[in-house]
């Protein structure tokens, strides 16, 4: 360059002359359109991302965003139309495959296009509130491809068909199914639901309805439940593999409804295989399955529980009213315990220890056990048997187990005070005859009763134990003092019983033989010498004696007899034959007791140390008794006394009942007075309710009895009726 006129060197702003070329937009668009075509035709590799991005950027910058956008829509739509057709053209099984492939491609294309048009996506679109590119792509796919009538119906049909095939055991392409359902989900939740899920659920319901109908006609309960469980698991698995997780609860509801809920009653009541049979046959697995399945449906467990409860109540009721069963109380109670064990096992192993079932069981037992008014007596007899011999040689833990189980039954009793009465009687016999297997076991049971019912219940029982202990000490003192002079007399062992603690016995007459009397007097003097202000009376109906007897051929035996029997036998030391009267007079034993005593001495095989003339079974006033010198027994020690506790006869039972009723009266009155003292004024119904509540741990008071007691208290001026309201009572201080 030569020297020319020097110009001032100016720096000017860069003026890029925007050429408002009307054809500019069109030209740019064409470039982009072409690119889209290429992308859809899988020729994207030849494109320059940078150039395309710049073109799109420019279009938007120069305010041609609208053209760009609408162009995009048009182009994409036309491509999708073509794709849709090709999918439609696919045959049979390839339909899904084709759809899936094209979807994948579309997604890839979408991504590229979105990248190219990113500037528009970020500026133009938000400003104009248009649908962003990605979403646009999905919507167009949805509208043009999926919702094209041909594709839509066919897609739905094929998907459902696949499910059906899989349900009948065929193997299908799960991966493909997963992709398709993912596609539907991506297109929007309503697409998945409307296009697929809704119909899926409907069809499934129909399917299972039919299947369950079929099964229920052909299977027994256990098999049916197995099948139902299998189907349920299948569906859960299906969902996890290729459906939306949210579908799980929906499809399981369908299965539960169709297969279980609709047939609930029929299954439970099914003859020979229903709930009751399962219980009877101890089919734990089936029961567990039933529990799990029925838990899923509303009122399923309620039904199971109700059927179980009424079964237990019915069988229980039968048991307690069956006269055969009631003949042997110990066996009866053992049966109850076994029954309880059985149901407990069912509840723990099959019903996952469900509290409501446990409660239902408890209330059922409570119901039927109290139907038989002799339950308290029988339970006491059972305990008596166990403590006498049943628990011999049993480990301490096992003893505890047995006693705990007995306590469970005890808790069900409504009339605990009746039990107390019998228990006291039986305990007294055990203690006095020294026939208890383990004192620890006895004490353990007392402790349990105390925990359950409070100190009052057991204080007298404990008193009995104390008396036994004290008596031992007394005897030691006695033999220490009189050791020398009693050495060659009969050996005396005395238990001194405190009157209040032991069951009341009527005083009976009995003349002790001379040989014994001296010894008894010595003891009496000794005792009264050390304890002033007390009175002793010999309880001749509760004692025992061991006699050494020599029979005709010199055979010696030791006879263990009751005190009465001893008195009778001692008479035969001075005579070989005695009439009934000759026995009655000197001994002065009351007639009924004497007859019973003679019966066990003369009429029982193997124990007949006396012979009776005539040889009839019953004792008559005119009978004569002879010493049976021909008596033999293979045992040296022969036990003749009837000391063991036995089930009461009917009249005895009545008597005990009466005494219990009498005992209850003061308890009810005490409760009424307690309540009225606190409340001052209370109406009749509330008094009855409160009294019942207060006494329920001992017995269930009869409202009529409560009313009578109230009247008695009115009579004795503890209470009065309110002048205004005759249903109200007032406490009179």
């Amino acid at each position: 360059m030569s020297a020319q006129k020097k110009k001032a060197f100016q720096i000017e702003a860069f003026k890029h002359r925007v050429v408002v070329d009307p054809k500019y937009a069109e030209k740019t668009w064409k470039i982009l359109e072409h690119a889209i075509h290429e992308i859809y035709n899988h020729n994207a590799s030849g494109l320059s991302f940078e150039e395309l991005y710049r073109n799109a950027y420019n279009m938007v910058l120069h305010k041609f965003g609208e053209k760009l956008y609408s162009g995009l829509v048009t182009t994409m739509t036309s491509h999708l139309k073509a794709i849709s057709s090709s999918i439609e053209a696919a045959q049979g099984g390839l339909f899904l495959d084709e759809l899936n492939r094209k979807w994948a491609e579309h997604n890839k294309a979408m991504q590229m296009i979105r990248d190219i048009l990113m500037y528009m996506d970020r500026t133009f679109i938000p400003n104009t509130h248009k649908t962003p590119v990605h979403e646009l792509g999905l919507n167009l796919w949805r509208d043009v491809v999926i919702h094209s009538s041909a594709v839509q119906t066919r897609l739905q049909a094929i998907l459902l068909e696949n499910v059906r095939r899989e349900r009948s055991g065929e193997v299908i392409d799960r991966g493909l199914m997963r992709s398709i359902s993912k596609m539907l989900m991506d297109l929007g939740p309503s697409v998945y639901q409307d296009d697929f899920e809704k119909h899926f659920l409907e069809v499934s319901a129909d399917f299972y309805r039919l299947e369950s109908q079929d099964f229920i006609e052909s299977c027994d309960c256990g098999e049916y439940l197995k099948k139902a469980e299998r189907r349920l698991n299948e569906e859960i698995e299906r969902v996890s593999h290729y459906l939306d997780a949210k579908s799980e609860v929906k499809i399981t509801n369908v299965v539960e409804k169709e297969m279980i809920e609709n047939h609930m009653h029929r299954l439970v009541q099914m003859e020979n295989s229903g709930l009751v049979n399962m219980i009877v046959d101890e089919k734990y697995e089936d029961l567990g399955r039933m529990y799990c399945l029925f838990r899923r449906v509303p009122n399923g467990l309620v039904l199971v529980r109700d059927v179980m409860t009424s079964y237990i109540r019915d069988t229980g009721k039968q048991l307690v009213t069956d006269p055969e069963r009631l003949k042997d109380p110990v066996d009866f109670v053992q049966h109850l315990l076994d029954l309880k064990d059985k149901y407990d096992k069912i509840i723990t192993s099959a019903f996952s220890n469900d509290k409501t079932f446990q409660n239902a069981l408890n209330s059922s037992f409570e119901y039927f056990m109290n139907l038989n008014s002799r339950s308290p007596e029988f339970i006491s007899l059972f305990v008596d048997d166990k403590l006498r011999k049943g628990l011999r040689g049993v480990t301490e833990e096992d003893v505890e187990l047995v006693l705990d189980k007995v306590m469970m039954l005890f808790r069900y009793l409504q009339e605990k005070d009746v039990f107390e009465k019998y228990y006291k009687q039986h305990l007294a016999k055990r203690l006095l005859s020294g026939k208890t297997v383990s004192e620890d076991a006895e004490r353990s049971l007392i402790v349990k009763l105390k925990t359950e019912c409070g100190y009052q219940f057991t204080s007298k029982l404990e008193g009995m134990f104390t008396d036994m202990k004290t008596s031992q000490d007394t005897m030691q003192g006695f033999s220490a003092r009189h050791g020398a002079d009693i050495a060659d007399g009969p050996m005396l062992s005395v238990q001194v019983l405190t009157t209040g603690s032991w069951p009341t016995q009527p005083i009976t007459t009995c003349n002790l033989p001379a040989e014994i009397r001296g010894m008894c007097e010595k003891f009496r003097n000794y005792y009264l010498g050390t304890h002033t202000g007390r009175r002793l009376s010999w309880q001749t109906n509760m004692g025992t004696a061991d006699l050494k007897a020599t029979f005709g051929k010199g055979q010696k035996h030791e006879l263990n007899v009751s005190t009465y029997q001893m008195c009778v036998l001692m008479l035969f030391n001075n005579a070989d034959r005695l009439s009934y009267k000759e026995i009655e007079q000197p001994t002065e034993i009351p007639a009924s007791d004497l007859k019973r005593c003679l019966q066990s001495l003369a009429c029982v095989k193997g124990k007949n140390v006396l012979r009776k003339e005539p040889m009839s079974k019953d004792i008559a006033d005119t009978d004569t008794f002879l010493f049976n010198d021909k008596f033999t027994s293979k045992f040296f020690k022969v036990k003749i006394g009837t000391v063991a506790a036995q089930r009461e006869s009917e009249p005895e039972n009545q008597e005990t009942r009466q005494r219990v009723e009498e005992d209850r009266k003061p308890q009810i009155e005490a409760a009424i007075v307690r309540i009225m003292k606190a409340r001052r004024v209370l109406d009749h119904n509330n008094i009855v309710a409160e009294v019942t509540k207060q006494l329920q741990s001992r017995f269930l008071p009869n409202p009529v009895v409560i009313k009578k007691r109230i009247e008695s208290l009115i009579e004795r001026e503890f209470l009065e009726r309110d002048k205004g309201d005759r249903k109200l009572y007032r406490y009179l201080a």
Partner: protein, 258 residues
């Protein structure tokens, strides 16, 4: 009376018949209520007994007529004489009302004090006055409140001294008497029931509650409430009625003639 108009005269007559009051009192009451009979009755019954003056000496005389020669009390013979003088049956219920006024403690005897208290309250110091008061006393039984008091009084009066309860026979007798006045349809069944099933003395509570029962529960037992805190004897009575078909389907079929 001749000064009164016909209508008024009738009213006075009516008043006297119904209440057994004297003419003077009838006039008083009717005047006070402006000659309305209803109002006059209210007036009359709400007044304390118009104590006309009683002469103590004359009372003394009367007392001495009837008192027992050996004790200072009127005993059975004296009472019989009194009844004869009044031309009233000793079993007549009006004698119960008399005893009530006297606040007598036991039947078949009146102490001097009781005699005086009773007669003074009634404004009696002569046999004529006594006789005049009889209709009045009968009318008192018609008054609900007074009947209630008399009924409850009867329990204490009829029972043995020192006993808490009333012997069954005496109770039945009293009930027959009292409910003949009151007209309770079930009284015979009640007495039969007691003799058949109960056979023991009657407590005060049962006695007083029976009146409530007769008053409030209709003979068909339609409004009987088993939870109504009635004494158990009454509950048993209801059972008895149902068992023996006397009450069937809430209908009272009266087998006995009354």
């Amino acid at each position: 009376m001749h000064k009164l108009g016909r209508g008024h005269r009738d009213k006075v007559q009516q008043f006297m018949t119904i209440t057994g009051a004297s003419e003077k009192i009838a006039l008083q009451a009717l005047k006070a209520s402006d000659w309305h009979l209803e109002g006059a009755f209210d007036f009359f019954y709400s007044q304390p007994h118009i104590k006309s003056y009683t002469d103590t000496t004359r009372l003394e005389e009367l007392y001495n007529r009837y008192k027992d020669p050996y004790t200072d009390m009127i005993l059975v013979d004296g009472i019989t004489l009194l009844c004869n003088d009044l031309q009233v049956d000793p079993q007549d219920i009006v004698m119960l009302v008399v005893s009530w006024h006297m606040k007598a403690s036991t039947m078949c005897e009146y102490s001097k004090e009781e005699f005086f208290i009773g007669l003074q309250a009634l404004g009696i110091d002569s046999l004529e006055k006594f006789g005049e008061r009889i209709p009045f006393m009968r009318s008192e039984l018609k008054d609900e409140q007074k009947f209630h008091e008399i009924y409850n009084f009867a329990f204490g009066w009829a029972k043995e001294k020192g006993q808490k309860s009333l012997a069954l026979d005496t109770a039945i007798g009293m009930w027959q008497l009292l409910f003949a006045e009151k007209q309770w349809p079930l009284v015979d069944h009640w007495c039969q029931f007691l003799q058949a099933r109960h056979n023991k003395a009657i407590s005060r509570d049962t006695w007083s509650q029976l009146l409530e029962f007769a008053r409030t529960i209709d003979p068909a037992l339609s409004n009987y409430d088993a939870e109504g805190a009635w004494p158990y004897l009454i509950d048993e009575f209801v059972e008895y009625l149902n068992e023996n078909g006397i009450i069937q389907n809430g209908q009272f079929g009266d087998r006995s003639q009354k």
